[in-house]
């Protein structure tokens, strides 16, 4: 069944979109990430204009994160205080990111920036996660105890604040900075930034793993919500029809994925996620490095 998207002005198969939403939803349910980093490149591949894909994806992430955070609130695994600090940084970052996005859209480099961001961040995160989970897997095989977290430079900064749920007493500067950078990325890449936020919270801020996912989801709702509004008002690129199709598939898939996730071990999950992240990164890098079959591209003439 073909459906005409009112904002993207392209006609796509509705079942393809539902299927994509479902598939990415399963993965996000399994790994506890928003799935935006997979969905946005997939939308590029099926011919949705990048500007629309990025803005609409932000809207879809609001839905999946909201669904997830409700479950975490019930289990009391959301650090609202930490979430708020991250959020303040995130909103500043998102506002900056949308401005950067609009400016680059006018000079025709937005595709490049989005793809470069993907390659760089997916590459770093994927590689780190892969190595880390491989080590963890080896350790559990040997039966050695996990390494205890040490205090690092992050704990010596001023403006300290108590985060009871996380059991932390640290400076607000690192969480603020993490928030800002994730906000910028959310606006430019159309992702919630969970795949950057989660490792940053664990390794940089030293938060306990059980509150990380809920807290990250909590702040992602607001940052992506804010990003959606900004894209809607400055670029008019949020496609409601596309978002609805994706999120129907997404929310159903996420619940199924959560069931599958229970059956697998944490290290195995992380290694699978790392492989997937690296695969997406490899594909995008390949496109940038190899001569494209069509050197020319068409675009809207922007202001000069």
């Amino acid at each position: 069944m073909q459906i005409y998207l009112p904002i993207a002005e392209v006609s796509v198969n509705a079942f393809l979109l539902l299927g994509l939403g479902g598939m990415v939803g399963v993965l996000s349910g399994m790994f506890g990430v928003g799935g935006g980093f997979l969905m946005t490149p997939l939308l590029f591949f099926i011919g949705i204009p990048p500007a629309v894909a990025v803005a609409t994806e932000a809207n879809q992430i609001v839905a999946s994160s909201f669904s997830g955070v409700l479950a975490h609130l019930k289990r009391k695994t959301v650090d609202l205080r930490m979430g708020t600090v991250l959020l303040v940084g995130g909103l500043i970052g998102a506002a900056v990111g949308v401005q950067v996005f609009t400016a680059l859209r006018e000079i025709g480099q937005v595709d490049l920036l989005v793809k470069l961001c993907y390659v760089v961040f997916l590459g770093i995160i994927g590689a780190l996660m892969f190595v880390e989970s491989l080590n963890a897997l080896r350790r559990t095989r040997k039966g050695a105890p996990a390494v205890r977290r040490k205090h690092n430079w992050v704990h010596n900064l001023p403006f300290k604040m108590k985060f009871r749920t996380s059991g932390l007493y640290i400076s607000v500067i690192p969480p603020l900075l993490v928030g800002v950078s994730v906000g910028v990325l959310a606006a430019i890449m159309g992702v919630g930034g969970g795949f950057i936020m989660v490792p940053a919270m664990i390794y940089l801020l030293g938060m306990p793993t059980k509150v990380v996912v809920g807290t990250s989801l909590f702040q992602i709702i607001f940052v992506t919500g804010f990003t959606t509004l900004l894209h809607a008002t400055t670029n008019y690129t949020v496609d409601m029809a596309l978002a609805v199709l994706l999120l129907i598939g997404g929310v159903v898939g996420a619940q199924i994925g959560a069931r599958i996730g229970v059956l697998l071990k944490a290290e195995q999950l992380r290694i699978l996620l790392a492989i997937m992240v690296l695969a997406v990164c490899g594909k995008l890098a390949f496109d940038l490095l190899v001569q494209p079959s069509e050197l020319y591209s068409l675009g809207d003439p922007g202001a000069h």
Binding site: G68, Q109, A232, L298
Partner: protein, 251 residues
Amino acid sequence: MLRLALLLICLALPATGEEVVAGLSQNRVAITANFDGSEIMIFGAVKREAPPPGDGALQVIVTVSGPSEPVMVRRKAKRYGIWVNTDAVEVDAAPSFYAVATSAPFEEVLSSTEDLRHKVSIQRAIRSVGAPMEIVDSQSFTEALIRIRTDKGFYQNRENSVIIQEETLFRTAVALPANLTEGMYSARIFITRNRQVIDVLETAIDVRKVGLERWVYNLAHERPLIYGILSLAIAIAAGWSASAVFRYLRS
């Protein structure tokens, strides 16, 4: 203004006593949510007082064009090891859709001077005035524009697709792709002899989004804030109901 110009052109044409009358299967194309392309039949006849002149066979050209808009054509080049957009040329006006259907190979139907005057072929329908000084091969940008749009089915050059019967009746069909942009489209029908235009007829086709598509598009552009908030409300509601439904299923 355009109509006046066309009228003048019509008046300036040699009076051979042949006129074209034509009709379209539809004058409106409605883009609905499940729009997946449309086909327009264009048919007509040549009206004449005297028997057809013996010199040269009657030929028919039908063009359908979408609204013209400026387009930015960008070219990639390798910089620091990756492919980046570098040069850009703004094409002043290019139709979003353009189809030319002819009753014989194009060169046999229309001379290049007549093509230049009436802007019939795809190359002539695109107006590109100036390229930046530093770009020498601005022609290749226009060619790229035509190539890309032809591949996507937006530009169609269909020779020998107009069927003429008895030097009088003619018909053809133009397929509109699913990825259509809205606006006023125009259909032009030329009759030619000896590669010279004898008569031309122009008629409009109104292509627009209707129903939900129209509503969503208008809301997004006229009330962006409300549209954004509505999008968020839908997302929140979907997220909440999904978790509620699955909680209910679990218990």
